[in-house]
């Protein structure tokens, strides 16, 4: 096991990783930017080190700053969290070159799965159905038009790097494609420093279902069930649940089994998530893999009782998984609500400011992963996630009933939040029937959801 871990992230995930380190009895150093000097993670840390100014490019995204901080503070491993440097194979390689361990897949594994398009082919060869898409990266606009014609409209433009909906656009005509390619290219370049794009067939009314896997260095892997992330706004997930209401028990088990077999065969290592789109007939198409701990990992922890961040750290330290598929049991139902500083009344505009009062909910099955406290000033420089409310129940209706109570108890004064959209969803018939599709909030409009709930 490591002796000291540098946490190179911020917000709720920095707090979450700190908890995992303490559970393991490993010292942790929180690396922070000047804007996060007063953050909860810094206050709670055994040790904290300022790595740069508020601008993430010079702090959380700066490989030299992060690695230098790890070296001077005597760490032997770096946990990158999610976002920032978490899936940067170049960073992982430099970390290793400095004699440190990157907590995540080893660099050569990250490299193998770095290109979404190549990963699709790799796992396609391992028996996973993949969505029809462009043959490799788009060389230019003309190549894009030819490929879109071959695949058939509508198509989804996707960047090879990154995630979070940036650089993604669905287009229905060649004219739309030409215009969107330029936008996506510049968005992808700005967000990930890589503007290579590819196309995927757009499935109408699809569900987003993802399988959590954990594979150790010795090729021993398990799946930890799936999560449904179909509730999205502009390709951004904001409410997740498990198990998915989209598939029956047999189909869910089969999907997870196929996913873990393929990913072990493809040589993956550490925790990861295979994302699938499920069409209305229940057929699952592999779309991409996330080689990091994900925002929505807690719902899997609620169902399995397994600490995924601890598992991730142990695997990175070279330890065997220590449990088999038969040891993984999925119990009950869990929901996760991403609480964002966003104004639902004004097109989900991000907000910042001082938390005047913060009260976290409680009760059976209720968990809050958040970095908020009364008096905390939310800096305007980073994403708008304030925390996650995770609610477990023995079944879906109980989990939903508990969620309504918990959302009602949660108090965040001083900031505008997206609580209203969660409360609206929990009263929405389509959601209650378990029939949300990834396009529904955008198609109907968030305002319509809010208005319907208000009646």
């Amino acid at each position: 096991m490591f002796s000291k871990i540098l946490i190179a992230n911020r917000g709720e995930i920095a707090v979450r990783i700190l908890r995992a380190c303490r559970t393991l009895g490993v010292e942790a150093v929180v690396a922070y930017s000047e804007a996060d000097r007063e953050s909860l993670a810094v206050q709670q840390a055994d040790e904290a080190i300022c790595i740069g100014p508020a601008d993430a490019k010079r702090s959380y995204l700066s490989a030299p700053a992060v690695i230098s901080a790890a070296i001077v503070s005597g760490c032997d491993a770096i946990h990158p969290g999610y976002g920032f440097l978490s899936e940067d194979e170049g960073f992982a390689e430099v970390v290793r070159a400095h004699g440190l361990t990157f907590i995540g897949p080893p660099p050569q594994v990250l490299e193998r799965f770095a290109s979404k398009e190549a990963t699709r082919r790799l796992l396609g060869a391992q028996g996973l159905a993949t969505i029809p898409g462009s043959n490799g990266m788009l060389r230019d606009d003309l190549h894009g038009l030819e490929e879109a014609e071959r695949i058939g409209y509508p198509v989804l433009i996707k960047p090879s790097a990154g995630g979070g909906g940036k650089g993604m656009r669905m287009v229905r005509t060649p004219r739309e494609l030409e215009a969107a390619l330029k936008i996506c290219r510049s968005e992808a370049r700005a967000a990930f420093g890589d503007d290579s794009l590819y196309l995927e067939k757009w499935l109408e009314d699809n569900r987003h279902v993802e399988v959590q896997v954990a594979v150790d260095r010795f090729g021993h892997g398990v799946h930890l069930g799936e999560r449904d992330c179909s509730v999205q706004r502009r390709h951004q997930k904001f409410l997740e649940e498990a198990p998915t209401p989209a598939l029956g028990d047999a189909a869910r088990g089969e999907l997870a089994d196929r996913a873990i077999r393929a990913i072990v065969a493809a040589g993956y290592e550490n925790v990861g998530t295979l994302e699938f789109l499920v069409d209305p007939a229940g057929k699952a198409y592999f779309i991409e893999i996330n080689c990091r701990i994900q925002v929505e990992h807690p719902i899997t922890e609620m169902l399995t009782g397994i600490d995924l961040v601890v598992t991730q750290i142990r695997i990175a330290a070279g330890e065997p998984l220590g449990f088999s598929q038969a040891d993984v049991t999925l119990r009950g139902h869990a929901l996760e609500f991403r609480i964002n500083a966003e104004d639902t009344q004004h097109d989900f505009r991000p907000s910042s400011g001082v938390v005047e009062r913060y009260l976290a909910p409680g009760g059976p099955g209720v968990r809050v992963d958040s970095h908020l406290f009364t008096g905390y000033e939310v800096p305007p420089f980073y994403d708008s996630l304030l925390g996650k409310l995770i609610v477990w129940g023995p079944d879906r209706p109980t989990a939903i009933a508990r969620s309504l109570v918990a959302l009602d108890e949660l108090v965040i004064d001083g900031l505008v939040t997206n609580l209203a959209i969660h409360q609206a969803l929990l009263r929405n018939e389509t959601f209650l029937a378990g029939k949300m599709t990834t396009n529904l909030v955008d198609r109907v409009g968030a305002a319509a959801f809010l208005a319907a709930a208000a009646r």
Binding site: E34, I49, C50, I51, G52, P64, A65, A69, V72, S73
Partner: protein, 175 residues
């Protein structure tokens, strides 16, 4: 120089922070917009002067906080009667670390050396690549706050630079 009490220092720190937070951003924007080389503004007992950096990077001007109506070392008996007790810190400014790494002062820059704002007085090694530590103001290198070879974080104060110009000198030049 006499020791000052905690309360007086806190008042001064609050004033400096007020200037830095409210005044400096506006001044920097103004400097950038006008294309002037230097801007100076007085507020209460404090004076803020911004100078465009030598490379002409406009708004990236170096700010120097100085106390305009206070006496310098050796002039303590001439303290302005209406002003609160001057902080020692008003006469000095710390050079800070540009990065997280290992600090090395320049051997030829010893305590007592005269430096100009922007002079390289040391470096912070980031994975073997030195990042320059520069003097924030004209002055004399004072006490070091960290040792050669110490690990330092971004923004950490490394060494004091004692301000040279006395109010009398400034008064003469500014008049």
């Amino acid at each position: 120089m006499p020791d000052r009490d905690e309360a007086a220092r806190l008042v001064d720190h609050a004033q400096i922070e007020g200037l830095a937070d409210e005044l400096l951003p506006a001044l920097i924007a103004k400097l950038g917009a006008t294309g002037l080389g230097e801007l100076e503004l007085r507020e209460g007992d404090w004076r803020v002067r911004l100078r465009r950096s030598a490379d002409g990077a406009g708004a990236a001007a170096k700010g120097a906080l100085g106390r305009s109506t206070r006496s310098g070392p050796g002039h303590l008996d001439h303290a302005h009667p209406a002003a609160p007790e001057a902080p020692r810190d008003a006469y000095r400014s710390a050079a800070t670390s540009p990065a997280v790494g290992v600090y090395h002062p320049r051997p030829e820059i010893a305590s007592g050396s005269r430096v100009r704002a922007g002079d390289r007085i040391g470096s912070v090694d980031v994975l073997g690549i030195p990042q320059e530590v520069v003097a924030p103001v004209n002055g004399i290198v004072g006490a070091g706050l960290v040792e050669n070879g110490d690990a330092v974080e971004y923004g950490q104060e490394l060494v004091w630079i004692e301000l040279i110009s006395t109010p009398a000198e400034r008064g003469g030049r500014d008049a």
